[in-house]
């Protein structure tokens, strides 16, 4: 039985996700999706925040849905992505200079 096989499943999942590369991948993905919804004009639909619809010819529910998607991806790009980039840098620094694992082959 190897060390790998005795990892608890949750820890295995966590260790796979917690890496500078993963953090950067999520940050880039969020940013790309945000750029896409921005380019297709979902920004106008954030008008639901003021109780109005964003565009003529789009129903209130659909407009609100587009607006919510835009806001979530905006927050992902402006708030979450930079945190992930910063965390990736810190984690990379830790792995390179501070982690006990850095001595492992």
């Amino acid at each position: 039985m190897t060390n790998k096989s005795i990892k608890p499943p949750s820890a295995a999942r966590s260790s796979g996700w917690i890496s500078p590369h993963s953090f950067l991948s999520v940050a880039v993905t969020l940013s790309v999706f945000f750029m896409l919804v921005h380019l297709v004009g979902f920004r106008e639909h954030t008008a639901f925040l003021s109780g109005t619809t964003g565009a003529v010819g789009v129903g209130t529910r659909l407009s609100t849905f587009y607006g919510v998607i835009y806001i979530l991806l905006y927050l992902g790009c402006v708030v979450i992505a930079p945190i992930l980039v910063l965390a990736a840098g810190m984690l990379a620094f830790w792995q390179k200079f501070l982690s006990p694992d850095k001595h492992l082959p």
Binding site: S14, A47, S50, G51, V56, I83, A87, P100
Partner: protein
């Protein structure tokens, strides 16, 4: 032990990064107070917001779309969008006299259209459907919301430049408002059946004060009576703030609300500076919130929950951020020179209201025409109140 170490390190990195980024985020949206509001002249934002609004009044199709969007939610916003724009243009004309002719043209256009719509559709046109559910107490029915805002539009226009045709219109409207206000034991007229709003009655009183300066009339005794009455009968005991609405007999209907209290304090500045400042400071304590360089206004006071208004803008839960109340908070912060709060509000605006600048015309996508007009007013307000106070001081000195 490799995984737990990595998990802890990853979590710690995320937490530390979150603290660093969230505490720095506002710097990326802080354009400086000068970009939003200037002591003299027009700020960059004021010019850009005004360009959009003036553009709407030269493009009937686009404006109709905006009106339809607002009226579908709340017909009051249709009137308020025009009123705040007229008041803003008066302030802009006093700040920038070289552009006065263009501003006057749009002001007249808005005033004429408002009066036309009132003649055409009656007092209910700018009210929510609930206005027809029961009869007005004061007969014949009138709407203080429409009377007050129209009167202040007329007075603001005449303050920027006299227009003889508007003098009798203003006189007539003020006489009607004052006669009805004096019928009530709380010196207030209804906007909705048996519902008087502090906001609307104070706007009416501001119009009276402006008209006194323009026409040489003197209603200072009535204004003093109203303020004395309000301090006795219209105060919320818990917060020390003026009620939002009450019946014609003076029974409280709604306690202080963020969508009203900031404009109320601003209007009071024209009538009683000390009372106004006290109201603003209380409003800041109860409704104003700041976090990590951002600021907003709550809908309900911090020391207790009030009833939610059905026509209100959506409120973002947890932080209790109200878009409508936060927009009005700009007026309070600008009027009382609260630079710190205003800077943080402006950062929040650029972060969360999704500005869209096209060909020098600025709008906020998360807002609407009335929201943007309120913001424009906050960028330029000041000179009209100062001019009126100067007229008042000169008049008192001559007595």
């Amino acid at each position: 032990m490799r995984c737990p170490n990595k998990f802890v390190a990853g979590s710690a990195a995320l937490a530390l990064a979150a603290v660093i980024w969230i505490s720095c985020l506002h710097f990326f949206f802080a354009n400086g107070l000068v970009a939003f509001r200037q002591g003299n002249g027009l700020s960059r934002k004021a010019q850009q917001l005004a360009a959009r609004h003036l553009g709407l009044w030269t493009n009937p199709n686009q404006r109709q779309q905006e009106v339809d969007r607002m009226r579908a939610r709340n017909p009051e916003w249709d009137l308020m969008a025009g009123s705040f724009l007229v008041w803003s243009l008066a302030e802009m004309g006093l700040r920038n006299p070289s552009a006065k002719a263009a501003y006057l043209k749009t002001m007249d256009q808005i005033i004429e259209e408002t009066l036309h719509l009132e003649r055409e559709h009656g007092i209910y046109y700018f009210l929510m459907p609930v206005a027809k559910d029961r009869p007005y107490v004061m007969q014949p029915a009138r709407n203080q919301f429409l009377d007050g805002e129209s009167a202040l539009m007329l007075a603001s226009r005449r303050s920027l430049e006299e227009k003889p045709g508007y003098q009798p219109l203003l006189r007539e409207r003020i006489d009607l408002m004052l006669a009805r206000m004096q019928l009530s034991p709380v010196l207030s007229a209804e906007s909705y059946p048996d519902t008087c709003w502090t906001f609307d009655n104070l706007i009416s009183l501001c119009a009276v004060r402006l008209a006194d300066g323009l026409d040489g009339t003197d209603h200072s005794r009535f204004l003093h009576q109203w303020l004395t009455m309000a301090k006795l009968k219209l105060m919320d005991q818990r917060t020390g703030l003026l009620l939002t609405s009450y019946t014609t007999a003076g029974r409280p209907l709604k306690g202080p609300e963020g969508s009203s209290v900031w404009m109320v304090a601003h209007c009071l500045r024209l009538l009683d500076e000390d009372f106004a400042r006290d109201q603003y400071q209380r409003a800041r304590k109860e409704f104003g919130r700041t976090l990590a360089g951002f600021a907003w206004s709550r809908k309900c006071p911090g020391s207790g929950q009030g009833p939610l208004n059905k026509d209100a803008n959506p409120t973002i839960p947890f932080l209790e951020i109200s878009a409508g109340a936060s927009g009005m908070a700009f007026i309070g912060a600008s009027s009382f020179g609260d630079a710190g709060y205003l800077t943080a509000l402006a950062a929040t605006l650029d972060f969360s209201a999704f500005p869209s600048l096209k060909e020098g015309r600025l709008k906020y996508c998360a807002s609407n025409q009335v929201g943007d007009a309120v913001l424009l007013y906050a960028t330029v307000l000041g000179p009209l109140w100062e001019k009126t106070k100067d007229q008042r001081r000169a008049s008192d000195a001559n007595k």
